[in-house]
């Protein structure tokens, strides 16, 4: 290796390190602040060396109903993920089998609407129906996020199944439903795992609908965190504990689906 090549490579790695630090340092600061005592959190100059303590987390779950909020987040994200899957899998198969392209354009148009555009009529309708603040209203509304993405991902998984395999099943006398159940779904099972994880993350992270449609006992973590900020922050350590509790599950799940995360986020724009 000659000298100039060595320096070029070093410069390259140096830039990698800078970009990585710019991304990771804020997150590290958030997590480490959640492990500091209240005097250490607001210390100036900022304290870099401290004895980590879990006291913020203990107080978060003891003095506030954070166990309930966490459960609510799981119910809403889980419920909308499952409902989205049930609705989208048959549709995705049909779209793939009959080679329709319009769902992508429908998905893109739906994606362009601001969430508030639907939230206004929903609020009026759900109030009239007495559904405001119920899990049902939250799961149904979050499903308009999970369902199109599942449809999109599953149809590309179904596309990758060779047509012969499915046609053989039909020649053997199985009904279309039988072919879907016994051949297509098992072959596209990895796609279902990807869809479930991805839509769970996106539903868990989604803020706006629950901000309006949740009541005290159905509040998910996103809205709880927002209320915490709105009350005027005095306890920064506990606030960062709340942020960490909110951010950790999607971060862990994201590492499982890695490249699919990007594909899920680009949905509607580019096919496949």
């Amino acid at each position: 290796m000659n000298g100039s090549k060595f320096w070029r490579k070093t410069a390259q790695y140096l830039q990698y390190v800078v970009v990585s630090l710019l991304i990771l340092l804020p997150i590290i600061w958030m997590v480490s602040s959640s492990l500091k005592t209240s005097s250490e959190v607001t210390a100036y100059p900022p304290s870099l060396i401290f004895h980590p303590t879990m006291s913020n987390y203990v107080r978060l779950f003891d003095t506030l109903p954070y166990a309930l909020y966490t459960l609510n987040s799981i119910i809403v994200a889980g419920g909308s993920t499952v409902l989205g899957l049930l609705l989208a899998v048959p549709a995705a198969f049909a779209v793939s089998w009959y080679r329709k392209n319009w769902p992508a354009s429908v998905a893109l148009t739906a994606r362009m609407a601001p969430g508030g555009l639907y939230l206004l009529p929903w609020y009026v309708i759900f109030t009239a129906m007495g559904l405001n603040g119920s899990y049902i209203s939250l799961i149904l509304t979050h499903t308009i996020i999970t369902m199109p993405i599942t449809l999109w991902i599953m149809s590309s998984f179904f596309d990758s199944i060779p047509r012969d395999v499915l046609e053989c099943g039909m020649v053997d006398g199985a009904t279309l439903m039988g072919v879907i159940r016994r051949i297509a779904i098992p072959l596209a099972a990895p796609g279902m795992v990807v869809s479930v994880i991805l839509t769970f993350i996106l539903s868990w992270n989604y803020f706006l609908f629950a901000l309006v449609l949740s009541k005290i006992n159905t509040t998910p973590l996103t809205v709880a965190a927002f209320r915490f900020v709105g009350e005027g922050i005095t306890d920064w350590g506990m606030l960062m504990a709340a942020a960490t509790v909110l951010a950790l599950p999607p971060l862990i799940l994201a590492f499982i689906v890695q490249r699919w995360l990007v594909r899920g986020l680009t949905f509607g724009a580019v096919k496949g």
């Binding site: 970009v19 362009m112 601001p114 555009l117 965190a225 927002f226 990007v262």
Partner: protein, 301 residues
Amino acid sequence: MSTATSALAGKRRGALGRFFTSPFVWLVAPAGIFMVTLTAIPFGYVIYLSMQDFLVGMNPIFTGLQNYVEMAKDPVFWNGLKVTFFLYAISLAAQLTVGLYVAILLDRNLRGARVLRTILLTPLAMPPVAVGMMWLILLDPSFGPVNYFIQALGLPGNLFLASPTGVIPTLAGIDTWQYTPFVVLIILGGLQSLPSEPYEAARIDGASATQMFWRITLPLLTPSIITAAVLRSIDLLRFFDTIYITTQGGPGNASTTLNIYAYKSGFVYFHMGYASALMLTLFVIVLVMVLLLSRLRRAAR
């Protein structure tokens, strides 16, 4: 219905009969009915709402286009439009520039590139609510580490989110932190599918690396850059979560984007009709921008 569908339906029936026995219709029906009920019908209703004077708790009165007339005279609306586009323009410019830079950095297949690609996913997976909270502490004017770092360099500290003039650039910075990785990964996909022939020809002709970037890489990458721009435009024009967590539109109305203003009109002041008119206007703006950019992409190809 396509020929494949009718072949599967088997027997010859009337058009309506074929429709109801087609497996395609049955498979798509649950998802279709769901989407129509939760989006198409509410969409129609929101248009109707936008033509009403509808204060929650009062009887709605049909007023035709009155809400739109009021909107045209509302200084907060015009301010919201200005804030929305200012935030949009600087965020998009920053994200595309930094995104292109990091994508090119990652395109060389060094061993660290894979690690960095994984790291890039972390901001994308985080809930915007948590990201907002995180930057509240990082940018705190009195004890935040960012100001400490700036002052250690001998520069004056900044109020960031509490500053009427600094709040928009600060929010653009937060969004750039969170979503530039998205731009990077889209452009990287484009970079890795570039043909190698133009580069070989240019090298024979003795072109420099800079010339090759401006003359070959950038023009060939334009479609991916525009794809990234379209997707970021959709989100940036509707920018909501991070703003609502950190400033709720303040100080004053300095960060009251159209989306924030529409939300507040509906769910803080309970003017559902006026809020509907604002939301519809925002939707049309997003639609027009996306159509313009898509036309640009077609032209670039």
